[in-house]
């Protein structure tokens, strides 16, 4: 089974306002998809539908071939939310405690951590290069370090799909580059499928394999070569933005 995500004719409304309209796309295993579009295009809503945070949609959504409404294997999906939205810097949680939360999707009642779980947490911190921070409070870390902690939380269950919502927000340019390099490494070496919401169109082409441009419905979904060759997209984005994205693509 190579199909990780399948969305067919998805429509979603908040009250009378339609946010997603007849959205259809598929994501194959080990693909790296940049999900972009203007504010209010429905990107975050789409992610919420995929992650089971929102119900009441029309259409068919499948994760790893299973209907999303019946899907229970959440450990196969890692999620990195926008850091600024979720994090209370005064919360007294250590790096180790926060990363451990990513294992709860695989636990049954009563949820306790065994020796091997603690080893998995340490191994993930090691992979992220932050093992020496394991007993630090997350609130005491820099923005780049915090982002790595939340990425470790998303990866500790060894997911097959990683969904990221604007991960580069609040990162300085150096941290941002290191962060995207790490994602690329995970994608290439571990066949991790990645769906990344971003407004950072100038950097998209450097990393992702595919571009999914959403504006309530799918405007474009394909690889960068097709995107760059498309006159229609040039008109849609404006020549300058189209050029910037294509120019960044290696």
């Amino acid at each position: 089974m190579n199909e990780v995500v399948s969305v067919q004719d998805l429509t979603f409304s908040y009250g009378s306002t339609e946010v997603l309209s007849h959205v259809s796309f598929r994501v194959e295993r080990a693909n790296y998809v940049a999900l972009t579009g203007p504010n209010g295009a429905g990107k975050t809503t789409l992610i919420k539908v995929l992650l089971g945070l929102t119900d009441g949609y029309q259409g068919a959504v499948k994760l790893f071939g299973q209907d999303r409404k019946a899907f229970t294997e959440w450990g196969r999906i890692g999620y990195l939310p926008q850091r600024v939205n979720v994090f209370n810097p005064l919360f007294p949680a250590t790096v180790r405690e926060v990363v451990g939360l990513g294992l709860l999707s695989q636990k049954r009642f009563p949820k306790t951590f065994k020796k091997e779980d603690r080893a998995t947490i340490l191994a993930t911190l090691d992979l992220m290069g932050i093992v020496d921070l394991k007993d630090k409070l997350v609130g005491d870390l820099s923005g780049g370090q915090q982002q790595r902690v939340f990425l470790a939380r998303a990866l500790v269950s060894q997911p097959e799909l990683l969904i990221l919502d604007e991960p580069s927000t609040a990162l300085d340019p150096q941290s941002r580059e290191g962060f995207f390099d790490l994602l690329q490494e995970l994608n290439q070496n571990r066949n991790l499928t990645i769906i990344l919401i971003t407004h950072d169109t100038a950097q998209i082409g450097q990393y992702a394999h595919e571009l999914l441009y959403l504006d309530k419905t799918v405007i474009f979904h394909g690889n960068f070569a097709d995107f760059c060759a498309s006159e229609e997209m040039g008109l849609y984005f404006g020549q300058y933005a189209h050029h910037v994205i294509c120019h960044q693509h290696p």
Partner: protein, 273 residues
């Protein structure tokens, strides 16, 4: 009077035992509530218990037998008002708490004769706790403690990041219901220790003290429990020897510990700069 003689009094032993258990519970739950910015739910539910205790006294039923279900139902209403009616949590607490107080005052005025009893619940008196109340407190404490320990990871996850908790399959509505129900039971227990007026202090003060020095969530919980139990032991002892009201003395001990921790933290920060 020497210490051994003091410790030999059965009412002191009952006060220490019930007080320590209730204090530990309040500290553990208080940490979740403070971090979720639900500190005032304890105050609101204590106000509801005022009405429930008045109801019990009016009908000649042991007040806690009325207070426990009524406060549990009130906690459910607060939750549903927040979730369904889209009312902010603090406003929902205000709505339910004012209903409790208004109901209690009306019942007290309509049923002349139990005002003295009712007002004794306002300030509590752990030194007057009966054997039956100790057993009831210990039984409920053990139930609440078992639930907290069994759901510790889910409660922690829901408190740290509710959206992420949902992504990991945690049912947030269920966890919120558990947390508010446990809080309701704990508030009723805390009323016997410090009274209606100060019940929320037992939830808030140990947690905010622990948050000043905590080096992790589990550590914060341990510190909060230690602070809370210490305050009960010192407060009960001091209230006996200084002839002071026990509830208020326990709360003052909590405040003194908070102030000491705050000063030590400031001094340490000053030194490290």
């Amino acid at each position: 009077m020497d210490l051994f003689q003091f410790l030999g009094y059965s009412f002191i032993q009952r006060a220490y035992l019930a007080g320590a258990f209730v204090a530990a519970l309040c500290a553990m739950l208080g940490l979740f509530l403070v971090l979720r910015r639900l500190s005032l739910i304890g105050d609101g539910l204590a106000h509801v218990s005022f009405g429930a205790i008045a109801l019990g006294l009016a009908f000649g039923v042991y007040p806690f037998y009325v207070a426990i279900p009524v406060v549990l139902i009130a906690s459910y209403f607060i939750l549903k008002l927040t979730e369904r009616a889209k009312i902010y949590g603090d406003a929902a607490i205000g709505v339910v708490s004012s209903l409790g107080i208004a109901g209690g005052v009306l019942l007290a005025s309509l049923s002349n004769g139990f005002n003295v009893d009712l007002f004794s619940y306002l300030f509590g008196n752990i030194l007057a706790i009966s054997d039956q109340e100790v057993y009831l407190s210990l039984g409920l404490c053990l139930v609440v403690l078992a639930v907290i320990l069994a759901l510790y990871q889910d409660l922690f996850s829901a408190t740290f990041d509710g959206e992420y908790a949902k992504v990991t399959g945690i049912k947030m509505e269920r966890i919120n219901l558990v947390l508010t129900s446990l809080t309701a039971l704990t508030v009723v227990l805390a009323i016997k220790v410090v009274g209606i007026m100060l019940a929320s202090a037992l939830l808030i003060l140990p947690a905010v003290t622990a948050l000043q020095i905590a080096k992790g969530f589990r550590g914060a919980m341990v510190v909060a429990v230690l602070v809370s139990i210490t305050s009960v032991f010192v407060g009960v002892t001091a209230s006996f020897f200084l002839d002071l009201p026990a509830g208020a003395t326990i709360v003052m001990c909590n405040i003194v510990l908070f102030a000491i921790v705050l000063i030590i933290k400031k001094v340490n920060l000053g030194v490290s700069k």
